[in-house]
Symmetry: C2
Subunit: 338 residues, 2 copies
């Protein structure tokens, strides 16, 4: 059966996803028997289009490049869009809002209530309302899948839910923000914080307002997701202590080096008896620790388990195709189980 | 439905598996709705026992510790055992034979022909006959699952089959044998090869006859499995070039250090156009490469993919509980899909 997909948000990640789907159209059919069509795209800059027979991916990409979706245009708000495009899966890819999760939160809720699967790489709903959204999904017998919210397409949540099933996770600890890791790597090489930040901005790793990354808020959202998804906690994001990297000086870098260590912004979740606690803060990691060797924009996570001890996964933490892949893998999971 | 399990081979791994199943009996039921019973155990030293209502795990472990399985003893060969114990899943855990895969190969074949799922951590059948065994499984609508054959319980095959689904794997490259990595780590610290080997033997990492590890044959079997399972090749093990670590001298170690490198026994599989080639050989790895930081008996694998670039996983490569877990995770996969 052809999977009908609706996209909310058609920026970098959404366009990357459509490129991947189109480029792999034969491979996905041959390897997984997976066929898809995009029945609707809704974007607050480009407009909304919808067609039950499926929209032409090439037309979508071309029209988006020109700034406006035209073919099979429809009027109405997101709810009307979701009603009309009648998709099996709704992919939420609007901007991240870590205050109240909106508008993504409402999009996810409405879709789940209507019995649609939801896949999202948007950290807002996942970090703030994972428990209620997954309960809503369960009630409506659909999935709420969020692999892309932590370390983009590098498998973390799906790794623990699938291949690590049967293990009990005692703690997780990792480098979850590529921008700050890139800045720290530059500082290791002798740059001052301001210069390293400027370089990260130049390369597109850091935004014009870098607060969300450098103050640790992005990592905090991911740590909250890990606590609630992987460790089964119900931890509000405000309970996760958070310190960024803005106070780290070249002297601190030198002092760490003298001790055979290296600064890393570490996100950690730990079980203490029945309780789960979580934090984000810069730590001096010994040079022979696996996390010390993770440089640049790469991310890494070490999971401490009862049966396997430490298992670490290292991979990209951001990127157009990488996040697009995270959506694809969740779409395939839905396909496989349907 | 309660999963009925038959065990062939009841050594370290088999006993470890039963301990895990017993210890996690409530956790597995609560988290996955997974219930099991062991309807038979067949071991060429301890004898064969079988009961349709399930054998008592504590009795099994106690009797094995005393050298002989007694309660519900039966006569007959492995085929009669498999017929009588009527299991849903047969777990093959006899000794590894990389020449012709026997007797494990015949056990797997017979079980699959009779429509039983097969789970094994035995490298023999997987390295020598993966394609025919998986075809046989498919024909009989059952699974042939082998996570434990590479890096014990650290997810490799299930990672690529599940969370990395949708990615095309271009190459894999890793440290797949813990014994040789432990010896090389000791040599880095100043020991001669013979002393390092003796220490590995003392700790139980290396066997009395260490040939299979130090000549690279164990890594070659794993590389063959990766080529055939992950890259879809049909590569016979003899086609995998293989060089071990026995020729590495303290001078070689020093020479690598001077170049900012470190010797590692690297197993690699690469796609060249339509062809897949594979090798095992010692390589000098730059110190800042993720594989250089993997020390002691730990294993690691870097997968190069089309959409995510490099993804690495690091974890244990052997061990009683670790390999026991690899069996458990495959049992859960069968449970989930049934």
């Amino acid at each position: 059966m052809t999977q009908k997909i609706a996209l909310i948000g058609f920026g970098t990640v959404g366009q990357g996803l459509v490129e991947i789907l189109q480029e792999k159209i034969d491979e996905l059919d041959e390897r997984y028997g997976y066929r898809w069509k995009i029945t609707g795209v809704c974007d607050n800059r480009f407009g909304t289009v919808c067609h039950m027979d499926g929209l032409d991916p090439e037309v979508l990409l071309r029209e988006a490049a020109n700034g406006s979706l035209q073919t099979h245009r429809m009027a109405g708000d997101v709810k009307q869009f979701l009603d009309e495009c009648n998709a099996d899966v709704v992919v939420e890819m609007t901007y991240t809002n870590l205050s109240d999760g909106e508008p993504a939160l409402s999009h996810c809720r409405y879709a789940l209530e209507k019995g649609r699967h939801v896949v999202t790489s948007n950290k807002g709903p996942a970090a703030l309302h994972f428990r209620s959204l997954s309960a809503l999904a369960k009630k409506n017998r659909v999935r709420f899948l969020i692999e892309g919210t932590v370390m983009s397409g590098t498998p973390v949540l799906n790794l623990m839910d699938g291949p690590l099933q049967g293990c009990r996770v005692e703690s997780v600890r990792g480098i979850l923000n590529g921008t700050t890791n890139y800045i720290l790597t530059c500082m290791e090489e002798g740059m001052a914080y301001a210069d390293a930040l400027a370089k990260a901005q130049e390369l597109g790793y850091a935004e014009a307002d870098p607060t969300g990354d450098v103050e640790g808020y992005d990592a905090r959202a991911k740590v909250t997701i890990l606590a609630n998804v992987v460790m089964g906690a119900d931890l509000p994001i405000e309970k996760v202590s958070c310190m960024g990297i803005t106070a780290i000086t070249p002297d601190d870098i030198a002092a760490a080096r003298q001790k055979g260590k290296r600064w890393k912004l570490i996100g950690a979740v730990e079980r203490n008896g029945g309780d789960v606690s979580a934090s984000v803060k810069p730590e001096m990691v010994p040079l022979d620790h696996p996390l010390a060797g993770v440089s640049g924009a790469t991310n890494a996570l070490t999971v401490v388990t009862d049966l396997l001890g430490d298992v670490s996964i290292v991979g990209p933490g951001a990127g157009r195709m990488e996040t697009g892949f995270s959506i694809l893998t969740d779409l395939l999971t839905i396909h496989r189980s349907s």
